[in-house]
């Protein structure tokens, strides 16, 4: 790995109260790649990616320590404001979560408008760009004033992607973004991801191993809060080095 990483995690520990959920994980991601994180439920993968935008600490009783380097900043350094980190590291959640009572337009620009961007011409342009990037523009361009929650689940999830892209993050975290969607919507979002990686670096948690194999460049396998194996996706899925990885991807446990 000679290319400079955009994201480098060193010895990250995280959990709730006295329970450690992520037990000393180190991994890195290069610019414009897709990293898939797989593992059985409760293995700490969600907690792990929620540490990458410091959202984990918003849960009461949560703790996290270690180093997470985003380009040249350790986001867990003392003087770093989590709000500024979250502008650079966007997130898409498991369930589509369009903001209630906001139109499609308002949903997309929520991040910018609430941060003080007011000029309509700028917002309008960003809405179009973001919706095009999220492959939703053609479906909604004539009803931008309709409520965001009036869209179907798959459309709402792409709306959430557009909303995350509108603040121009450098990294996009996706926490099981297709697990609540039907296969057609899932295929659309997978297709979208291969386009998006030209702009952002993607870290995706998924339960769907075919999905990980299809869309990612590298795969990390988590088990009980530890990183068991991390490597090129083709290698992890065809010639896993660790016995536990092989047993998991062949469906023999987990």
């Amino acid at each position: 790995m000679s290319i400079k990483s955009i994201l480098e995690v060193k010895n990250l520990h995280a959990g709730f109260g006295t329970t450690e959920v992520v037990k000393g994980v180190s991994l890195s991601a290069q610019y414009h790649t897709v990293t898939a994180i797989i593992g059985p439920s409760g293995c700490g993968k969600s907690t792990f990616i929620r540490c990458l935008n410091r959202l984990h600490e918003e849960t009461s009783g949560a703790f996290a320590n270690g180093e997470v380097w985003l380009e040249n900043t350790d986001i867990y350094a003392k003087n770093v404001d989590p709000v500024s980190i979250r502008r650079k590291v966007g997130m898409v959640f498991q369930k589509p979560n369009a903001f209630p009572s906001m139109s499609i337009f308002d949903n997309v620009v929520a991040g910018l408008r609430l941060a003080g961007v007011k000029r309509h011409s700028i917002l309008k342009e960003i809405v179009e760009q973001s919706l095009i990037s999220a492959a939703l523009w053609h479906e909604v361009k004539d009803k931008l004033n309709a409520p965001g929650t009036s869209l179907s689940g798959g459309q709402q999830q792409r709306l959430c992607i557009a909303r995350a892209l509108a603040v121009e993050p450098t990294v996009l975290l996706m926490d099981e973004p297709t697990s609540a969607l039907d296969p057609i919507s899932t295929a659309k979002i997978e297709e979208l991801m291969t386009e998006l990686r030209k702009k952002v670096t993607i870290i995706i948690v998924t339960h769907n191993m075919q999905q990980a194999a299809r869309i990612s460049d590298q795969t990390a396998f988590f088990l009980s809060g530890e990183l068991i194996e991390f490597g090129e996706t083709s290698q992890v899925f065809t010639a896993p080095k660790m016995d536990q990885t092989e047993r998991y991807i062949t469906g023999r446990f987990g």
């Binding site: 935008n53 959202l55 918003e58 009461s60 709000v83 500024s84 980190i85 979250r86 502008r87 650079k88 966007g90 997130m91 959640f93 498991q94 369930k95 979560n97 903001f99 209630p100 009572s101 906001m102 929520a110 991040g111 609430l114 941060a115 409520p147 959430c160 909303r163 995350a164 603040v167």
Partner: protein, 289 residues
């Protein structure tokens, strides 16, 4: 067991279950009809007693001195509206702010104490709130006033509004808040602009219901805003209000005043009904947008 015996036994059980079902359904239907009777009979009675006194004068004229017929409750209607506005100015921000704190900030000793006192405050008889405001405002000012009445009603609004706001915001899924935080918005902006504004319709329902509740309060007004037979002359002066005027007229010995009281009661009931219906419209899906 013999299969035939079992199936006969099951058939008997089934019949008995069916009969019990129909009896219980009947009891429940009867109970719900009984619940409607007081409301219906009250509405019919107030309507039939109140309508004869209804006329444009009732809304535009001041009460007449004893012995003269006619007159209206214009000052009382204006007084009640003023009191409701004053009460809302105090109760709405305070109540909603408290509700926001209870729902959005991590549970701790303070929030437990606040929630408990809100529940206690809600169960305190309103006349006690009136006494409290009497010592707090009326005695120092040496005067009954609209202001004192507004404060008393405002205090009554706080606990119910706080709890209804809390319950409502708790139903907003946590991942909506997280989506806001993940966009790089500070927590207070997420709370105000996404959680609160996103549920503005439901919140306004809570506000209207709490207003409807205090609009008919009488006891706390008896020694705060008191009464006045003329137009109100300022926030620091006593004022008439519908409930107190109804009370005064209803216990008087004059036939004419009794009629006025009934008509006042009708207006008050209609006011409260209208507010309740408004909340239904606000809450119905896509009712306003």
């Amino acid at each position: 067991m013999n299969p035939a015996v079992l199936s006969q036994h099951m058939a008997q059980r089934y019949l008995r279950r069916k009969i019990t079902h129909w009896i219980m359904m009947g009891v429940l239907a009867l109970a719900s009809c009984l619940a409607l009777i007081p409301l219906l009979s009250l509405s019919v009675y107030v309507l039939s007693q109140g309508i004869p006194g209804l006329g444009i004068n009732f809304f535009t004229h001041l009460p007449q001195p004893i012995g003269e017929t006619g007159g209206g409750m214009a000052n009382s209607i204006l007084g009640t509206l003023t009191l409701v506005v004053l009460a809302s100015l105090i109760g709405v921000p305070w109540g909603i702010g408290t509700g926001l704190y209870l729902s959005e900030y991590p549970p701790g000793r303070l929030s437990t104490a606040v929630r408990f006192s809100a529940d206690l405050l809600a169960s305190i008889p309103s006349i006690i709130i009136g006494l409290f405001v009497y010592t707090l405002i009326v005695i120092p000012m040496r005067r009954f006033s609209l202001l004192a009445g507004g404060v008393a009603l405002g205090i009554i609004m706080i606990p119910t509004l706080a709890r209804s706001t809390e319950e409502l915001l708790r139903r907003v899924p946590i991942h909506v808040r997280e989506a806001g935080l993940a966009l790089g918005l500070p927590r207070w902006k997420v709370i105000l602009r996404i959680v609160l504004l996103g549920n503005a319709r439901a919140i306004s329902t809570g506000i209207i219901l709490s207003i409807a509740r205090v609009a008919g309060e009488t006891a706390p007004l008896l020694f705060t805003s008191f009464n006045n037979q003329y137009w109100q002359r300022g926030l620091d002066q006593p004022s008439s209000s519908l409930p107190v005027q109804i009370y005064t007229y209803a216990i008087s010995p004059y036939e004419d005043w009794h009629q006025q009281a009934w008509t006042g009661a009708l207006i008050l009931v209609l006011l409260v009904f209208a507010m309740n219906i408004l909340t239904r419209i606000l809450l119905s899906p896509r009712g306003s947008s």
